[in-house]
Amino acid sequence: MKNKLTLIILFIFLSFCFVILYKGLNNSNTYIPKINHEKNIPVFKAKDLNSNTYIDSEKIFDENIYYIINIWASWCIPCKKEHPLLMELSKIQSVKLIGLNYRDNLNNAKKFINELGNPYAQILIDKDGTLGVEFGAYGVPETFIIDKNKKIIKKFVGPINKETVEEIKLIIK
């Protein structure tokens, strides 16, 4: 009887370990920060790519509309891929796209925009990547949705695709 009980306990313990390890095998080993709760937009001052002047974040997000922050760079290949979709989003009246040019050569950035079109209402320069950190980004491209209450409500890591665009359209509807 005692041996039987030991065997049952051992079996349960091994099954528990197996399930945990099996689940772990299916999980990606790359951590992607999630947004579990709404976050306030950071307060900052950044240089505008076109005017070369500093602008306060309050002035950037001063309208009662949705904003999309897109972190991009001219050296980033996935950014080129998502650019036509950003152009599509920029046609929507109820949303304003703000570009965050991440660790880029400014001439290359301007060339990129001249060649592929400008979907952004404003492009901010993030020369050392610290502004990206303030938003909770860790690479390019990344896209954030900011609602009318000036809260970051959604974050997309990597290039946006057609499904993402549909999701964004649903959010800002």
């Binding site: 951590y31 920060p33 050392d128 990547g129 610290t130 990206g132 950190v133 909770g136 860790y138 690479g139």
Partner: protein
């Protein structure tokens, strides 16, 4: 001449204390950077990593130290942006309590088994 000597001693001691304070600041900064995980090369700390993300975090930590934020306030700032994962030494909360309590429970469970065995052997 005496005045010159006096000025020399004062300026040397000031330079020395500045050097000491810089060293202290750098130690403090390194301690924090060693406890932050690089999210790009996830096996490395920000201190060891050369990635763009790590260099941005190094600048941010520098900025926060200059703003006189404490170590815990800097961790809290990063946790708010990236979650608990970014800190190597996670705090005790609803997401990490199993991580903290499981070793203690296993220790108590193992201890109880050993204690029982000893008691049986004594009999």
């Amino acid at each position: 001449m005496k005045i010159l000597k006096f000025i020399l001693i004062i300026s040397l001691s000031m330079g020395f204390s500045q050097l000491k304070s810089d060293e202290k600041n750098s130690e403090f900064k390194n301690k924090i950077l060693k406890n932050i995980r690089c999210l790009i090369c996830q096996g490395q700390s920000v201190y060891d990593s050369e990635s763009d993300f790590a260099s941005s975090i190094k600048l941010i930590v520098d900025k926060k130290i200059n703003e006189k934020l404490s170590e815990e306030q800097i961790y809290e700032f990063l946790r708010e942006k990236y979650g608990d994962w970014i800190i190597y030494d996670p705090g005790f909360n609803k997401n990490t309590y199993i991580l903290w309590l499981l070793p203690i429970l296993l220790f108590l469970f193992g201890g109880a088994i050993i204690y029982k065995k000893i008691l049986i052997n004594k009999k």
